[in-house]
Amino acid sequence: MQTDNSNNDSTTPSGLRKARLAFAISAGKLAGASGRLFHIGGGTSLPGMIARRIDPNVLKSVVGGSKAKKIVITGSNGKTTTARMTAAIADAAGRSVSQNRTGSNLLQGITSVAVNFSDFFGRMESDVLLFEIDEATIPLAVPEIQPDVVVITNIFRDQLDRYGELYAVARALDEMLESLPETATILLNGNDPQVANFGRNAKAKRIFFGLETKDIGTPVPEQSADIIRCIHCNSDFTYEVAYLSHLGLYRCPECGYTLPDLDLAVTGATLAENGEGPSKITLRTPEGEMNLEIPLPGIHNIYNAVAAIGAAMAAGFPLDSVQTALSNIRTAFGRMEKIQAGDKTIYLSFVKNPTSFNLMLRLIAQHPGKKHLLLAMSHTVVDGQDFAWLWDVEFEDLVSDILDAVCSGNKTEELAMRLKYAEVSTDKISLIEDREAALDAALKQVEPGGTLYIMSGYTPTQELRRIMQKRGWVKHFWEE
């Protein structure tokens, strides 16, 4: 990073420094406005990119000058929904929130928050600054943000070509946690053997969240589970319950490593049977027991809600309006988002790794009837280049339910081949690279009143959503 210029600040006259910051912010704001005008990229990264070119310290200056509580949410899966829930809880507690937008969680996107939410002099009024940040960007972003609360949701195998190996990511995160001051709080998922071990030598306070109920889950982790060996002695863990991939109640038979005492623990849970409806949970907190209804389906959303409650608690927000806040949460952009397309229904899901893909497939499998699918993947900067992980997705489980599948994006052939080897009959598979043509073809196969399930990577999800917005089926995502 080129942020080492901070040392030069003392030698630069402060007037000049302020002028540079103001110039950086106005240029960023202008870039954002024209980006929106010309409909490029949703204006989420551009303001930050431009502003950083002019003043590499822009993020540090604006965030450092703000009195807001700074919350950083990172981890492989669930960042966006956890951030939305945290924002809703803060909002219900009367706090004003500034946060970065869906997917714009690389350094430019984070800086865009500073640019968009501050005035031209870099002053920010918000009570809460909420950042969702990719694991890979964390080591660069945290020194600039100096967060009060850091939440780590989980660490799953992600795009290996972007993040390097799992353990390298874990080491970098651990180093970041050790750099935090003792006034900070670290919120960790205790059900993740690797995450629960983070920050052992950190000065900051650690609190743990997770599930400890036997109402849900399976006896052993699923096939694609990433970390099922002890992080201390490499023996295979035994599981009392596995909730989601490698998340669960684990214990090492050799050295005894097991999950820590949970500060926020789900002690009872009921999932909706149709794969759509709300989950009901009982949550033990240091402030007493809460019975909550989480409107979004699936175990992953229980984790998201509990992480958000933990973040709010760590930031010192009152928890009495948590239920109201959660009830108002709609599905995040592209997370089994229900869209009405004339007389047909679309469920749009954004998937980026085997865990998120398998989750969506499992939810879809619970919907009654045979399924029409549209799958879209593209290789781009944000989506990655290596799609080997598609072979860790359990398409095999859904095959008997598939009526037809349209494959799209510039990874069309790869997707079609993956389906063929899951033994989806090739006459049910069509390859249409163009996103709009693929959407039309997929919808054409759906009977009136029927449903289309779309599962797509980040860029194709944005593209498909833009097409649907043009047709008036969804709102533009930055207006939500």
């Binding site: 290996l160 070509d161 353990y167 060996r229 900067v381 990655g384 280049q385 080997a388 081949m417």
Partner: protein, 267 residues
């Protein structure tokens, strides 16, 4: 595609080494590829997972799969595989077919010396050694390969490794690098061959996109058990389209260290 041909009565016995320990890059796609292409031809497959602490007689298998893993998994595998090494070498000498990928490939050599960390001992099945480099090759790859059964063929895949592998006189390369970096980025070759044992850095996984290689492995596995066979041809239009797309990418990204860093924002 899923209609099954008449049962040929033939079977391939597959040993899948460390199926959970060494499975980092979705390489189970290689197994899927072999299983389906056998099934579509009426050939049965029996797959035995082989875990840490198990020491079967490896000469009983026709085909052995050994895939990639991260450094920590590789350490465990390196220690454990010493108890399996002599039987694995014996299997290779008696023409059992091997497909080894990435860390699995490296561990079939004499040793792997990480960039920092102690040396990991290998099996010595391939006459080669690997040393960790300070940079990583992470890009699309294309190779030119030549086999008696297939003639000249192009192999496509994705490489993601920091290890630099150097072949000794008893190992032949798998192919000549057309795009990408291969064994060490210097000598222009990729992978290793010894008798029916193959090693490669290509994943993606490698077999689905390269049906010709899958079929070569199947054919040699059958011949290991039954003598000369001829495989029924399959409709490979889906696979060939994926192969063509991967080859196009390899050529587009030729010369780049990291495909993701070389991707422009506009793509």
């Amino acid at each position: 595609m899923s209609e099954n041909k008449t049962d040929t009565g033939m079977v391939i016995k597959i040993g899948h080494l460390y199926p959970t320990l060494m499975s980092v890059a979705a390489d189970r796609g290689n197994l899927f590829s072999i299983e389906r292409r056998c099934k579509w031809r009426g050939i049965a497959t029996e797959v035995e997972p082989i875990f840490v602490k198990q020491t079967p007689d490896f000469t009983k298998y026709d085909l052995i799969l050994f895939h990639g893993g991260a450094d920590r998994e590789m350490e465990i595998a390196s220690r454990d595989i010493q108890h399996k090494a002599s039987s694995l070498r014996e299997a290779a000498e008696s023409n059992t077919v091997f497909l080894s990928v990435c860390a699995g490939y490296q561990l079939l050599g004499h040793y792997y010396k990480p960039f920092n960390g102690p040396e990991l001992k290998g099996v010595g099945l391939f006459d080669m050694y690997t040393e960790g480099g300070s940079t990583r090759f992470m890009t699309h790859m294309a190779l030119e390969c030549k086999f008696e059964e297939t003639g000249t063929k192009i192999l496509v895949g994705y490489e993601n490794h920091s290890g630099r592998t150097y072949l000794g006189p008893k190992a032949q390369p798998l192919g000549k690098v057309l795009a990408g970096w291969g064994n060490n980025g210097k000598d222009g070759v990729e992978g290793a061959r010894y008798k029916n044992a193959f090693g490669t850095y290509t994943h993606g996984p490698v077999l689905p996109k390269n049906p010709w290689l899958t079929d070569l492995l199947i054919q040699r596995s059958l011949e290991h058990r039954y003598g000369k066979v001829k495989l029924l041809p399959l409709d490979d239009s889906t696979e060939n389209a994926a192969h063509a797309a991967a080859l196009k990418l390899a050529m587009e990204f030729k010369g780049t260290m990291s495909a993701i860093e070389a991707t422009s924002w506009k793509r």
